[in-house]
């Protein structure tokens, strides 16, 4: 199969999957088999592009001309491949997890759930492979819309409110700022293609470039930079598999991915560092890292705590990008991968606890480690990766980001990372401590729960194992990320 066909297939397969899932709604086993096969095929297709891209190939496909002079086009470059590989690989694990979670919790409308999930993945892959800003924007919006039914899945008033915040913030920022920025870019540069070294150098005054940059950064609401972060905690009303794959991996990573894409391929980081009107992003992302961590400490709801942790971790990627040093950009790319594995493990664990014990609050977790050893071990590995302790993958990306910050003399970034590491430890270690070393409260009727179902435990063990393995064998992703610079 030629690489062009592979790209097309990778875009179409999840959609075909979605249609088949919709038609097999009456036979749950068949439906879930289709999901698994689709996810597996998608990953195989995406992964098969790896050797080519590593050798410098940039296969591309033009689907059609949407507006005169502007095409829907796809082109695979290292960062996009990295994102696509993570999303499609974790979709396989997450589908396994979903089967356990959705069935055990007897969720309604499971067919719609799987259909939207497949469409969300198709959109994510399209974002990853987008060759120009127009294509990226189109699927960025598609991703927002197809995840809305997942956020409001339960249909309760709370879900409706969460959905409103989710959709409101994401659509308002993207239409209000991102679209404006894109049209403006097109007028200035006459081009929207992602090009190495950027397309804007020398095309406009520093003031215009600075404004445009701000429009982009605040337009990409999915990156959850403060103050446009509130949709992410709101999205936690969704079933846990959605929080795990979409709101820890696909959707939020699409956000920071877009930020990196724009910095590298629209502005060009040499150009951005030469004009220096972008330092504010460093401060703002640093502020987000610290504030979100502090807010995380105050959350008793486990999923909300994880959400704030995600906000903070996303800003690591943004800050690493804003340092504009080659090494830290590699670190940013790596952190997308590393955080994905760690955070999905944490969410899997949270969902596992909810399924088995119906507990959602941190304060209810005393002694749960003895009843659910697998889940809580996985949770511990995920948490250590968030903090950045070896031997977990989180250490690697943090190392690169710190290295880049040292090289370019950004002491502030270093201080932020050090403090936030302490804060991360501050909100994760007590959970681990309570789970393993505190006594379970005797008087409440916990019933006799143990581990959640096999599918759930297997899924979270795989991602936890991957988080450790990535520490020892990070070569795959590092090599890919190094192609960025």
């Amino acid at each position: 199969m030629s690489p062009e066909t592979t790209i097309q297939a990778a875009l179409v397969i999840p959609l075909v999957g979605a249609v088949l899932i919709a038609f097999s709604g009456h036979w749950p086993n068949l439906r879930e088999t289709i999901t698994m096969i689709t996810a597996g095929t998608l990953f195989a297709l995406v992964a098969s592009l790896y050797p080519l891209v590593m050798n410098g190939g940039r296969p591309s496909v033009v689907i059609g001309e949407m507006l005169p002079g502007l095409s829907i086009a796809f082109s695979v470059e290292p960062l996009g491949l990295l994102f696509a590989m993570i999303a499609s690989f974790l979709w396989i694990i997450n589908s396994l997890y979903s089967i356990g979670y959705m069935r055990e919790n007897k969720e309604k409308n499971q067919t719609r759930f799987y259909v939207c999930f497949a469409i969300a993945l198709a959109s994510s892959i399209a974002i990853a492979f987008a060759a120009n800003l127009l294509t990226l924007f189109a699927f960025y919006e598609a991703l927002t819309l197809c995840t809305y039914p997942l956020v409001t899945h339960s249909g309760t008033d709370k879900a409706k409110k969460g959905g409103r915040v989710y959709l409101g913030i994401l659509l308002f920022t993207s239409i209000g700022f991102l679209l404006t920025a894109i049209v403006w870019t097109w007028l200035i540069a006459g081009d929207l293609n992602f090009t190495s070294g950027g397309i804007l150098e020398g095309k406009a005054s520093d003031l215009v470039i600075g404004t445009l940059f701000a429009l982009y950064i605040f337009g990409i609401g999915k990156a959850a930079l403060m103050p446009v972060h509130r949709w992410l905690p709101a999205a936690m009303v969704a079933p846990t598999p959605v929080s795990a794959l979409l709101h820890a991996v696909a959707v939020v990573k699409a956000g920071v991915f877009t930020v990196i894409k724009i910095v590298i391929y629209i502005f060009g980081y040499d150009f951005l560092s030469s004009i220096g009107t972008t330092n504010w992003l460093l401060y703002l992302s640093g502020f987000t890292i610290l504030t979100a961590s502090i807010l995380a400490i105050r959350q008793d709801n486990l999923k909300r705590r994880l959400a704030y942790s995600t906000i903070s971790q996303l800003s690591y990627v943004i800050m690493a990008t804003a340092i504009l040093a080659p090494l830290s950009i590699v670190g940013a790319g790596l952190h997308i991968a590393v955080h994905a594995f760690g955070k999905i493990t944490l969410f899997f664990a949270a969902g596992s606890i909810y399924t088995a014990a119906h507990k959602t609050e941190v304060s209810q977790l005393d002694g749960i480690g003895r009843r659910m050893p697998w889940t809580m071990t996985a949770f511990t590995i995920g948490a250590l990766s968030m903090i950045g302790v070896p031997p977990t993958a989180g250490f690697i990306s943090k190392w690169y980001i710190l290295h880049g910050a040292f090289d370019s003399g950004h002491m502030l970034a270093i201080v932020v990372i050090v403090i936030s590491t302490l804060l991360n430890a501050g909100y994760f270690l007590p959970i681990i401590y309570a789970a393993f070393f505190k006594e379970e409260e005797k008087d409440n009727d916990n019933g006799n729960f143990g581990e959640a179902s096999v599918a759930i435990v297997v899924a979270l063990s795989i991602t936890a194992a991957a988080t450790v393995l990535l520490f020892f064998f990070p070569g795959l992703f590092i090599e890919l990320a190094q192609k960025l610079i």
């Binding site: 507006l67 924007f137 919006e141 598609a142």
Partner: protein, 494 residues
């Protein structure tokens, strides 16, 4: 042989079939007759569009009489494009119409409805194709009178007052128009648009022409429902039968916009009337007020038809805003939005027609849980709604992109910001419907309802898919709009 006469056949076929329909009376037969007429006019207009794109403007002399004495039919790119829009919507609405009409209009009046529909179609097509300002008035009256009748056929008795109000306002509009035409005739001695284009510049400084200009624009703005002259529209759309709303929303106001385009860019094209008279600022300001006021009012409506009627007023604001930039991109944005909005609104009103048929009403409480009770209908409405918001890969995005681009191009940053802000209001009212239909449970005692009949559903979906198709692949339509805008700015009918 026949091919040479297509411009007149376009208008004459529905005109002749209208009295035949009146004689036939049997509602089923009349429907089949009307349906075939609409599809014939659609194919004629497509042929004409292709011809205009290939080999330039078509001029047809009625009865072979040369221009100042006889009436000329002239078709340029704008005209041919609008002609296709009107006839396409006509044929799709007719395909959709049968069950909805049978449900909403008393049996003994159905044949009257089809007769009026044919007359209205004649009028709308005639306005677009004629090259004579007085003949245009005649067609304007034909279409207006027939639409008053169609609106008054609504089940609700308030349809009568709505139609009456529209009649008063519409008549004032038409009268203003004819007064303007009279004044122009006084100064130039001709009614032929091509001649007027040449003659007006020499007399354009006179007060008479200025007065004529004022009468013409105000009159037409009444017909196209530019804020604050839109007061007739919400009630007319709300109480008219669903089919009528779907048809008029997608065609009548659009054709009036076409008249405005003709007046501003063809009649007064050589004197750059927009800037010279300050009309540009007036139109731009009113359009922007329309965007915000009408969208805000729409948010608070409980009747879906009324909600989308106000949304129409806002969307007309976008079209006028595009035109008021008076640049190629701006006019193209106006024209493309004319096309796009026709598709979107027709989809939505057809969807609402399906709901009226099955549920009996379109108030918020009728919409509860409809996402599950009528999934296909609601999906079509949601696609239309996404188009209104301007989500990429729907036609609305294309319009918005060009509007914002036109504003940027002229350095009008605040206007670009306003366009974008106003589309955020759209999100609010569209999402209110989505939430109601998908997240609110149906009332406990709700009867079991079926999906809408296939023909209605298919027609709505054809347009819903068209709104996606022309959103993903807008190159063809945009190139037509760009060329049309270019020809309007440089030469027009000559």
């Amino acid at each position: 042989m026949i091919a040479a006469h297509l411009p007149i056949l376009q208008v004459i076929i529905p005109l002749i079939v209208a009295p035949i329909a009146l004689i036939m009376r049997d509602s089923r037969t009349v429907w089949v007759l009307t349906l075939s007429v609409t599809w014939v006019t659609f194919s004629i207009s497509l042929t004409l569009l292709i011809e205009v794109l290939d080999s330039g403007n078509i001029i047809y002399r009625i009865g072979g009489w040369a221009a100042p004495w006889g009436i000329e039919y002239v078709l340029d790119k704008v005209g041919a494009f609008v002609l296709v829009i009107v006839s396409a919507i006509g044929s799709i609405v007719m395909t959709y119409a049968r069950q909805s009409v049978e449900a909403e209009i008393p049996d003994d009046r159905i044949y009257l409805f089809y007769t009026m529909f044919l007359l209205c179609l004649t009028g709308l097509l005639g306005i677009v194709i004629t090259g004579d300002v007085f003949n245009l008035f005649v067609f304007l009256e034909i279409s207006s009178l027939s639409s008053y009748v169609m609106i008054s056929l609504g089940r609700d008795r308030r349809a009568l007052t709505a139609a009456y109000r529209y009649l008063i306002m519409g008549t004032i509009g038409a009268t203003f128009y004819i007064i303007g035409v009279g004044l122009i005739y006084m100064m130039t001695g001709t009614l032929n648009i091509a001649d007027l284009t040449v003659l007006i510049p020499s007399v354009s400084d006179s007060r008479t022409i200025h007065t004529a200009m004022a009468f013409l624009t105000v009159g037409v703005c009444l017909k196209l429902a530019l804020f604050p002259l839109h007061l007739w529209l919400p009630n007319a759309y709300t109480y008219a039968p669903s089919v009528v709303t779907a048809f008029l929303a997608a065609t009548a106001t659009k054709v009036s916009v076409y008249i405005l385009i003709r007046i501003v860019f063809t009649l007064f094209g050589d004197v750059n009337i927009l800037e010279a008279s300050g009309l540009q600022n007036i139109l731009m300001t009113l359009a922007i007020i329309a965007l915000f006021t009408a969208s805000t009012i729409a948010i608070f409506q409980n009747n879906m038809k009324r909600l989308f009627a106000y949304s129409s007023v806002a969307q007309i604001g976008y079209i006028i805003l595009g035109l008021s930039f008076a640049s190629q991109i701006g006019i193209a944005a106006g024209i493309i939005h004319l096309f796009n909005h026709s598709i979107i609104k027709c989809t939505i009103f057809m969807g609402l027609g399906c709901i009226t048929l099955r549920v009996g009403g379109v108030s918020v409480k009728d919409m509860c849980g409809l996402g599950y009770r009528m999934p296909w209908t609601m999906a079509a409405i949601v696609i239309g709604g996404l188009g209104l918001i301007g989500i990429p890969m729907t036609v609305g995005f294309v319009s918005k992109w060009y509007l914002v681009r036109a504003a940027f191009e002229q350095g009008m940053w605040p206007i670009a910001a306003l366009i974008i802000t106003s589309s955020l209001l759209t999100i609010v009212y569209v999402w209110r419907i989505v939430e109601t239909a998908y997240l609110k449970p149906a009332p406990k005692n709700a009867p079991n309802i079926k999906e809408a009949p296939l023909s209605m559903l298919l027609s709505s979906w054809v347009l819903a898919l068209a709104s996606i198709y022309f959103g993903v692949n807008a190159t063809t339509t945009l190139n037509i709009a760009l060329e049309a805008a270019d020809s309007l700015l440089n030469g027009g009918l000559k």
